[in-house]
């Protein structure tokens, strides 16, 4: 794994200077490599991980399992790209197993999401069925503890 990516995954707010120190590189090398990763489209963006129990933005999120009919020549791509155009949709993934697409949808409330599913998603041609699961609580996201801490049980000082 690329060591810069490894560090950015831990904390995307590490400065180029900090990363340079950690990896024994110069700051300009780090900045050039990150630019290259961005230019190549390997790094697509940087985001923030929130504890939504504390930061209450009055939103609900649901994971929706979709079964769809693949289309000739392009499989699931067209339908996935149609779905991802909606602002309500946070993520779209093609899955192996019992269903085809997993999508994450946010809305103001339960009804909002339910309406989106029934009026927009289900009516897309090729969508065979949906199963909506509302997220109640997140414990860990992208390797970061949201609920509780990774408690250090070691003593304060030992030789």
């Amino acid at each position: 794994m690329n060591k810069i990516i490894d560090l950015l995954k831990q904390n995307a707010r590490f400065s180029n200077a900090q990363i340079a120190d950690m990896l024994g590189m110069s700051e300009s090398e780090v900045s050039a490599q990150i630019k290259e990763l961005e230019d190549k489209g390997i790094i697509k963006g940087y985001s923030v991980i929130l504890n939504e129990e504390i930061y209450d933005n009055s939103q609900v999120t649901a994971t929706i399992e979709l079964k769809v009919t693949p289309q000739r020549d392009c499989g699931f791509d067209v339908i996935a790209k149609t779905i991802m155009m909606y602002d309500e949709v946070e993520s779209v993934s093609l899955m192996s197993g019992a269903y085809d697409l997993a999508i994450e949808v946010t809305g103001k409330n339960l009804k909002d999401v339910a309406l989106f599913v029934s009026e927009k998603l289900s009516t897309i041609e090729g969508v065979l069925s949906t199963a909506t699961h509302f997220i109640l609580k997140k414990y860990k996201e992208k390797g970061i503890f949201i609920e509780g801490e990774d408690v250090d049980e070691r003593g304060f000082v030992c030789p």
Partner: protein, 393 residues
């Protein structure tokens, strides 16, 4: 009323409690303390090792096993040493599996030292050597190493320390607390001094897997040194297995046959579950070790740069998981520095003099912590150093 003072051994009463105990007690009473004081990995023991222990619990009788250690582990240890250093030990009579590297050190000292014998203890170093030497009536002779030599042991450091009574040289590299390592060339110079004497070397290489940018070299690889060296290693640091309490020593059979008697009467045998799990560690965990080393290396570079930036001069250590910055520029002693840092910024470090007098003027910082934790600690230390500098003006 019983007079406990009379009941207890004079030698034991004279033993000083570990110098870092005091900080532990203070730190434990405070809230929001972030510690940089721990000498054990923050990683979990690799899953394959834990799984192996679970298998042992499920399938095997948990028995004593052979005094010197279970055969498959002794074999694995000898194979490992041969692979790493190209040095052969006979797994039948040249290995003892011990309760941590600590027991191996204790056994060696007890088996070699008679009252009045002198032991050269390279300092700064782990806190256990001198007290154990004094417990058996030996005389611990400190051999200070210096920042000018990057805390390596030089032949000049040994000059004048070797007498007719010198029995043992304790060689602790990669070093806790300094992070110093000894290269092949460095060790050859020491070997030249020792080779024609009757001195045994106790080489505590517990941090051998944790070196950065350079492969660890062992003194047993040098001509004529295998026959006069007790090689000590263990599983705690390399495989994040501190709580499993498992280490080992290898030495010529003339030495091992004596040490094993003490082990047999004092300990009987090392924990059976840990021994079985340790076989897995040696056989299949090289990649996990590499990952941990790479993560430690990142933190090491970060800390060295940051400490120098905030004005604590810090040489770049090449082993273990400690940095050992100089705090003399603050005008404080090691203990004052650590006490005030804990009191004013809630950061716990270990004063360098806990590891020998020549550690005065330095503090030990462990990087067995996440980068997030280290970043916060450095920022608190920066506040503290700035405050001290403002006071000086």
């Amino acid at each position: 009323m019983i007079d406990y003072n009379k009941a207890l051994s004079d030698k034991v009463k004279k033993m000083k409690p570990s110098g870092i105990r005091k900080f532990f007690d203070i730190a434990a009473t405070k809230k929001d303390v972030i510690s940089l004081g721990v000498g054990e990995p923050d990683f979990s023991t690799p899953w394959a090792i834990r799984k192996s222990a679970i298998n042992t619990l499920e399938r095997k009788k948990i028995i004593y096993g052979a005094n010197k250690g279970i055969e498959i582990l002794r074999d694995a240890i000898c194979t490992y040493i041969n692979k790493k250093y190209g040095v052969q030990y006979n797994s039948e009579d040249e290995v003892i599996v011990t309760v941590g590297g600590s027991e191996a050190i204790d056994l060696s000292i007890r088996a070699l030292i008679d009252p009045g014998d002198e032991v050269l203890v390279v300092e700064p170093s782990f806190v256990c050597y001198s007290p154990l030497v004094e417990l058996v009536g030996g005389v611990a002779v400190p051999v200070p190493t210096r920042i000018e030599n990057n805390f390596k042991l030089t032949p000049e450091d040994l000059e004048g320390k070797i007498t007719d009574k010198t029995k043992l040289l304790i060689l602790p590299f990669p070093n806790n607390p300094t992070g110093a390592v000894m290269t092949k060339e460095d060790l050859e110079k020491i070997a030249d001094v020792i080779r024609d004497t009757n001195i045994i070397v106790l080489s505590d290489e517990i941090y051998s897997e944790l070196t950065y940018g350079r492969k660890h070299y062992s003194i047993i690889q040098i001509d004529g040194m295998r026959e006069r060296t007790i090689y000590v290693n263990g599983f705690s640091k390399a495989y994040a297995m501190t709580g499993w309490r498992l280490g080992y020593l290898t030495a010529p059979k003339e030495i091992v046959s004596q040490l094993v008697k003490i082990h047999q009467y004092g300990i009987m045998c090392s924990p059976f579950i840990s021994q079985n799990a340790a076989v897995e560690a040696l056989n299949s965990c090289e990649n996990e070790v590499k990952k941990m080393v790479s993560e430690y290396d990142t933190r090491r570079r970060f800390l060295v740069k940051e400490l120098n930036r905030i004005g604590l001069e810090c040489f770049s250590p090449e082993g273990a998981f400690y940095v050992f910055p100089c705090i003399k520029s603050t005008g404080l002693s090691s203990e004052e520095f650590c006490e005030r840092l804990l009191d004013e910024e809630n950061v716990a470090c270990v004063p360098g003099n806990a590891f020998g007098e020549c550690g005065e003027g330095f503090i030990r910082i462990s990087y067995a912590y996440s980068l997030k934790h280290l970043t916060e600690a450095v920022s608190r230390m920066e506040n503290f150093v700035n405050k001290i500098k403002a006071e000086q003006k």
